[in-house]
């Protein structure tokens, strides 16, 4: 029998155009290249300067999400896009896609959305594929057993021109999650706990495979939340073995294989999971059943505590001291009851239908606390449509939250949606770096449930208090 292999090794080997040598990296074929307005313009410029074409427009899909406005009047109503440079960037992507023959799901397309949400939704994200995008959260697609990672703009140009990348093989890291998550504890809490344990550079140079009972029990949307934040532990990719849950999600998606091609695809996908006895370079273990809802207190996603816990006291550590100064919080104090000015539900981490349902479940029959601004932004136009069909938007609006068109919105504050200086934002997104949501904004990362509960109380709140009573 051949040597047992990890899922990563199987996908890697199947995409070696030229294997790695001591002197040169491997040439790896890319099955799906997703692109968006922010990290592509300079890549298209290189193609133009060098007289090159897009090699495989059939494997390339563009959309716009980062710089796009979320206000309906600016998306559909003909009102000018407030940020002139963003409008220009959007027009540039339209021009580039038209000139190079790349399919674009543009501003008013009903299939538009955050790039990492629409790939799975359309069924172009599939097990065993290599998927790249000029965006670090491309790791999201690994939830399907794809090898998916973020690249820079120069590499976007490489893929456009050659459909290939020069890559060195990464190491593998198994994250084993035993047990089942308790009520009120979500995959977002799990990934925050994992990052807290690994640290923000613990995964550097590795591809993570999330394994174990808690992972197997998750829906695809939940698995995506977990893989999404792999990069926050420094890992470029996170993967989860495809199984019946994966196949059920993909069946009948607009672009998933059909008929005999579907059967062939599924039998191939069944061969992908890591073989019994395969070796990982590193392994960590997490007790899923022991986890609680998690909230970040500092300025990187590894600075995280259970919502029932206290901010640790690491005074004297310059990173900790700087974070406390920036956040205006104090060492040793409970994170519960920390102030909240803004609540953001959305992003490629938690902007899918199940996330909106979870927030709505907590919010139903309640009001957003006086003085708190809550923004709910669906991850795609499809999510928006489905949520509205269930009446979720009424729940949000009746509670006093704003309901918008899809996009990255307040996750990175480059589209007009920002948190003001000094304000506290409980956000379902993935980064709490200084200024991420606006100059001087103070971000606390949490699950949709915790975000909604905190919106109601106007203070950081354990969602279990509202779920139980």
């Amino acid at each position: 029998m051949s040597q047992p292999k990890t899922m990563f090794e199987k996908v890697w080997q199947a995409h070696e155009v030229v294997p790695e040598t001591a002197d040169t990296p491997a040439v790896i074929f890319i099955d799906l290249h997703l692109t968006h307005e922010v990290t592509s313009p300079q890549a298209f410029s290189v193609l133009r300067e060098r007289g090159l074409k897009v090699r495989r427009p059939d494997l390339t899909l563009a959309t716009m999400d980062h710089a796009t406005p979320t206000r309906t009047e600016q998306v559909f109503g003909g009102a000018p896009i407030t940020i002139e440079s963003a409008a220009k960037q959007i027009r540039q992507l339209e021009k580039n896609c038209a000139e190079f023959g790349v399919e674009l799901l543009g501003l008013q397309d009903e299939r538009r959305g955050i790039v990492h949400i629409i790939g799975p939704e359309l069924g172009v994200t599939q097990p065993g594929k290599t998927i790249v995008c000029g965006d670090s959260h491309t790791s999201t697609h690994g939830a399907f057993g794809a090898l998916a990672f973020g690249i820079g703009t120069t590499e976007v140009g490489h893929v456009l021109a050659t459909q290939c990348l020069l890559q060195k093989k990464a190491k593998t890291l198994a994250v084993e999650v035993a047990g089942q998550l308790a009520t009120g504890v979500t995959p977002k809490d799990l990934i925050l706990a994992i990052i807290g344990q690994l640290g923000v550079s613990g995964g550097t140079g590795h591809v993570i495979e999330y394994r174990g009972a808690a992972v197997r029990a998750m829906s695809m949307e939940e698995r995506m939340t977990v893989c999404n934040m792999s990069i926050e532990a420094g890992a470029r990719a996170g993967m989860i073995a495809p199984d019946e849950t994966t196949f059920a999600y993909l069946a009948d998606r607009p672009r998933s294989p059909k008929g005999a091609a579907w059967d062939a695809a599924v039998s191939h996908w069944r061969t992908l999971p890591t073989d019994e006895g395969a070796r990982f370079d590193k392994r960590i273990d997490i007790d899923g059943a022991a986890l609680e809802p998690m909230v970040t207190y500092g300025t990187n996603p590894g600075m995280v505590v259970p919502v029932t816990g206290n901010i640790p006291d690491r005074r004297g550590d310059p990173v900790f001291d700087a974070a406390m100064r920036y956040m205006g919080l104090n060492a040793g104090e409970p994170i519960r009851n920390a102030p909240v000015n803004v609540v953001f539900v959305g992003s490629c981490t938690n902007g899918r239908l199940s996330d909106l349902r979870a927030a709505a479940r907590v919010l139903r029959g309640h009001k957003v606390a006086q003085g708190v601004h809550m923004l709910v932004v669906p991850g795609s136009q499809e999510v928006k449509r489905l949520a509205e069909a269930e009446g979720l938007h009424h729940v949000f609006q009746e509670a006093g939250a704003e309901w918008r068109e899809s996009g990255c919105s307040m996750c990175l504050g480059m589209n007009g949606d920002t948190v003001a200086k000094g304000e506290y934002s409980v956000s379902t997104s993935n980064r709490n770096f200084e200024g991420r949501q606006g100059v001087g904004a103070r971000t606390l990362l949490a699950s949709p449930e915790t975000a909604a509960a905190s919106a109601i109380r106007g203070r950081v709140t354990d969602p279990r208090e509202l779920l139980n009573g």
Binding site: G152, H158, V200, S201, N300, L412, M414
Partner: protein, 192 residues
Amino acid sequence: MNPITSIRSRTVVMPSTNIDTDQIIPGRFLTTTTKEGLGQQLFADWRYDANGAPRADFILNTPAAQGCRILVAGRNVGCGSSREHAPWALLDYGIQAVISTEIADIFRNNSLKNGLLPIVVDAATHAWLIANPGAEISIDLQTATLTLPGQAPVGFPIDPFARYCLINGVDELGFLLSKNAAIEAYEARRGA
């Protein structure tokens, strides 16, 4: 890309751990369609106050930092967003090498592709560099060594292919394009 063989410069030191690419170039400056001029916005939120005036206490605004082409940063520099605007901004500002004990993957890749040298050093060398801001040091790519004043050269790891490209000014896209026959054969084999 112009060939790079060596850099000699005084250092500017930013000892913070986990300097992420959102700090190097904040998101609101990413609505550009070119690479030029980003040096103006490098570290914008640390460098300028609310009115856009330079903060006197930020290291890059001090007289000693002027003209420095080597940035010494705390552990895990360049984590977070994949934005290549981060190395573009550093280069446009005039930084040609970033030294740390750990450099995040995507940032390191992006830097190499633009001729910004990401140099990983051991803890002792790093501690010396942090403790001696403004030291005149040299980086030699041919020998993959770093020389601190009055000390023997110390080696640093660098991917051999990346080093070859940097020294010879080879651009990776050209290299990939030269593999066209292999790519075609792969596509034919896969029926993709």
